[in-house]
Amino acid sequence: MMTDDRRPVLETRLRDAFAAKAETVTDKLLAANRAGGAPALSTMNSGRLRRGTLGAVLAAAAVVVLVAGGGAAVINASRHRDSPATPRPTPSLHSPAPTGAVPTTAVTSHGAGSAPKSSVGPKGGPVPAGFTPYSATFVSPTDGWVLGNAPCTSAPCTSIVRTRDGGATWQGIPAPRTPIYDGQQGSGVNVLHFADPLNGWAAGDQLWATHDGGASWHQVKLAPGGQVANVETAAGTAYAMWVGPASTVVYATAPGSDRWHAVLTAPLAAAPSALVVKGRDWYLSDRDGVYHGVGANAPTRLANPCAGTSAALLAVADIAHLDAVCVLDGAAGTVRFQLYGTTDGGAHWTKAGGTHFAPSGLDVMDDNGNGVLLLAATAGSSVLQRTTNDGASFTTALTVNGASTGWSDVGFTTSTQAIAVLPGRAFYLSRDAGRTWTRMPF
């Protein structure tokens, strides 16, 4: 009989081996099999028509699946098709961009008509009593998920709730069987991100994935000993920012796959900020500059707009128009900051407005691509600040007293809808581009 302390090792080996084998099967491979003459749903079953009385029924099933679903090969070939590039000729901060902008942080875009329908995924049950949010993600104005915790009798008590009507109603769906990670001790997840209604990730010092809308979750291994700080997706690629003891690594994968490959390894001493993704471009800033990558290609280095002061807090309206907040100085829980903008993809930066003050913990910034910039900060109280005049002035749109954990997942889901999460406290939704906010009940 095997001893108990050896069984976890064997179980880990089993999980890893099964994952390695299962990951050899991909949507691409299945589509290629069909294209190469392997049995397709219709031809395979029509062959059996000749052998049994069930044939007619089976063939009918095949036709229904193939026709009503638009064709299996078509479905899977298009599931992760890159979004068409949206022309964005106008600057973000310096003049308003067109409406219907592609969302950025905490938000995912996908090509119209190519994304899986929102009806996919588990049916959902009641929201667990006492649910408290930690992270939120939307893939459309209506379809969103919130990762949280709820009291339960048998740990882990990690829960996920889903909405298909823009937050009017919520349903509980399966969550990864791992605890909420507090960022310091223990192990688990505290970040949730969906690329589309099928593919999502829960991250912390572990990374879990779902490819069936949250019906089932499985753990994905990246490098050990670190933490996945955030996961972002855009234009058919998912990116994970992994922060380890000696380095920061940006991994990339296709949303339907669990094979992640490193596209950047940077020294930890560079103190990177959050990963920002827009279209096929991703950005990661540190004190020495801004890494700018396109897909899985090797990144280039842009100048740090905050040279000599801090790493820039970035927001991206489009590949030409970026915003950066630089911390100049501060004291007693308050910082003075300067907003910068660029209209040439980061080659040159110019000041936008004067200097302003915010709580010292600047967490997240996002640009709706339509002249509105949100800035989230926490020090004693948590605030959401907003500018609509290129940084000439900032107004406080929301203040939450007594919160000290900092914001997560502050971002626009459309040009007018925005979300913000105070981990362990509350989830807020705005439907007027961040001017007013409503705390969502669960």
């Binding site: 095997m2 050896r6 069984r7 064997l10 179980e11 089993l14 999980r15 890893d16 081996a17 099964f18 994952a19 390695a20 084998k21 299962a22 990951e23 050899t24 099967v25 991909t26 491979l29 299945l30 099999n33 392997a38 049995p39 749903l41 395979m44 079953n45 059996r48 052998r51 049994g52 069930l54 029924v57 089976l58 009918a60 099933a61 095949a62 229904v64 699946v65 009503a68 679903g69 638009g70 299996a72 479905i75 899977n76 599931r79 899986p116 329908k117 009806s119 996919v120 995924g121 049916k123 069987r177 099928l198 490819h211 069936d212 809308g213 019906a215 089932s216 979750w217 499985h218 339907g256």
Partner: protein
């Protein structure tokens, strides 16, 4: 085709033949086809056969959908059908092997397996030597992350049997891997 639906009896009722549950079969196919094919490939070892098994499962679901007691049971039904289909495939392979000419060369490994590191291959090879039910329990538990109750439903056995099969399988695996 003769795929039994053992394990999904709780979801299927002969009395409920007139109930319209409006199962969105194309959506189910889009959502679960890849995951079920991955489950199947762990049981039958090659992708074309795994695809075949999964196609059969969906065709059976279409045929029996009017007998499901509730729409949520569709995934349990599909899972059970994949398990049964994989068992049937393995039985057919066993029969075919007994009648194969001795000069037949062994089938080459799928190219995809070349991507699997040696350590994982050793574990997978050891799993392949286990009895079918033990292998199924391990796959459902450590790949599909199902609970004991869910495994019991999928396999049509008791929770106690799931526990004992898993324990025996792990003991045997430990022994095999220690000796390899």
């Amino acid at each position: 085709m003769n795929v039994r639906l053992r394990g999904a009896e709780d979801a299927v009722s002969a009395e409920d033949t007139d109930v319209d549950l409006s199962i969105d079969l194309p959506a189910l196919y889009r959502t679960h086809r890849l995951a079920l094919t991955r489950l199947a490939v762990l049981l039958v070892d090659d992708v074309p056969t795994a695809e075949d098994v999964v196609q059969d499962a969906f065709a059976n679901l279409y045929r029996h959908q009017h007998r499901l007691r509730h729409a949520e049971a569709a995934l349990s039904y599909l899972r059970a059908a994949v398990l049964n289909g994989a068992r049937s495939t393995l039985r057919r392979r066993g029969t075919a092997r007994r009648y194969r000419y001795l000069t037949d060369p062994p089938a080459p490994p799928p190219d995809a397996d070349l991507q699997i590191v040696e350590e994982h291959r050793a574990v997978l090879a050891a799993v392949q030597t286990l009895p079918t039910r033990q292998r199924e329990v391990l796959v459902l538990r450590y790949w599909s992350n199902l609970t004991e109750a869910e495994i019991a439903t999928a396999m049509g056995i008791s929770r106690g049997a799931v526990k004992s099969q898993a324990s025996r399988a792990l003991d045997k695996l430990e022994e095999l891997l220690r000796d390899s």
